[in-house]
């Protein structure tokens, strides 16, 4: 199964945060979600994902954009 991709490069806070939260709800524990984001969302989304116990398993830089591989917490 391919990892779903969520593109939030066109969104601003708090929709960036809400979309990532909803994206993670659709997958099971320890499942993966790819998130493409940029700018202000980078700080807010990553720090809140970490605080909630999810893991950033990988990061790819695409110019000004970042592609995160998010691993949902195991529970």
């Amino acid at each position: 199964m391919t990892t779903p991709l969520l593109d939030i490069t066109g969104d601003v806070c708090p929709m960036t945060f809400v979309k990532v939260k909803m994206g993670l709800q659709r997958i099971g524990p320890a499942g993966k979600l790819n998130v493409r984001l940029k700018g202000e969302a980078l700080k807010n989304v990553i720090s809140s994902l970490k605080t909630e116990g999810h893991r950033i398993a990988g990061v790819e830089k695409e110019g000004e954009l970042f592609l995160l591989e998010v691993e949902k917490k195991h529970e």
């Binding site: 980078l42 990553i46 720090s47 970490k50 950033i56």
Partner: protein
């Protein structure tokens, strides 16, 4: 009553009003915190001795305006049992302002009210060449405007690049608000420019791998700021101070320097314009042994 008497009253927090015979009475409040017992006493005093209103000052204080001159002593006596003291004015260390700090605010790095209480205990009302204000912000968001104070403190997180877990993903560099993080010339290390770093800790909070860690967290001191007619922003002195005691020792040394070099009615920022900031920093480092 002559001018000298008015001056003495002012030093003791009783400010003469435009309307003859009336005073606005400044109360002793630290960091804008008042329990309900004190609030009730202030309410009762304002009803009994004033016109049933208080003024909330710009520095988190409370004043009871419209108190008759012949009621000043009784007002003081009335408030004393509830623990409400009368404030200060004139050339003294003034009301210490503080945010709610790390025990209340999720952004907080230091316990601002705790330090405010300590500064108040040690220095409040002490004589200095001109008014001296201390403000304490718990973090870099700086709600208490540290740089507008003669001595301002900010909660500060100092990052350190740890190395091995780092994948050079670029997130820390992208989130850094001052672009203080650069890659070394051979591309195998990250360098944090301590001068540009504003101590927000975003690089650490966002680091996916744990490659960016915390070197220290504590108190950062800014000196010489003021507002009023000729505003001036205070400048950062010393390194990150690790404990409340170190922050107190630094403020104490700053006050000693002001007493030694300040002219009467000269704000600290103006003193520093004459002496230069390096003279202050050297004095504080030498007398306290702080970094």
């Amino acid at each position: 009553m002559n001018e000298a008497d008015y001056k003495e009253l002012k030093k003791g927090g009783m400010m003469r009003q435009a309307e003859a015979g009336f005073f606005s009475v400044r109360l002793h409040v630290v960091g804008g915190r008042l329990d309900t017992k004190r609030l009730r006493a202030i309410h009762d005093a304002a009803v009994r001795f004033g016109r049933g209103e208080v003024h909330l000052t710009t520095r988190q204080g409370v004043e009871i305006p419209n108190v008759r001159q012949d009621s000043l002593a009784s007002l003081k006596e009335f408030l004393a049992p509830s623990g409400v003291g009368v404030g200060v004015c004139g050339p003294t260390v003034r009301t210490v302002t503080a945010c709610q700090g790390c025990t209340v605010c999720p952004s907080g790095v230091i316990d601002s009210p705790e330090l405010a209480d300590a500064v108040d205990r040690e220095f409040y009302g002490r004589p200095v060449p001109h008014k001296f204000k201390v403000g304490i912000s718990g973090c870099i968001n700086n709600c208490m405007k540290a740089e507008e104070n003669d001595a301002g403190i900010k909660g500060w997180i100092e990052p350190r690049w740890v190395g091995s877990p780092c994948t050079f993903c670029g997130v820390c560099q992208a989130v850094c608000p001052t672009k203080a993080i650069t890659t070394s010339s051979d591309g195998d290390a990250l360098i944090v420019d301590a001068e540009r770093c504003i101590g927000c800790g975003d690089c650490i909070a966002c680091c996916p791998s744990g490659g960016m860690g915390e070197k220290s967290r504590g108190y950062r001191l800014f000196a010489g700021g003021k507002f009023g007619r000729m505003p001036f922003l205070g400048k950062k002195i010393l390194g990150v101070l690790g404990t409340k005691e170190e922050a107190l020792a630094a403020i104490s040394a700053v006050l000693e320097f002001f007493r030694a070099h300040g002219k009467p009615r000269e704000r600290f920022g103006d003193t520093l314009q004459r002496t230069g900031f390096p003279a202050l920093e050297t004095y504080v480092k030498e007398t306290t042994g702080l970094p």
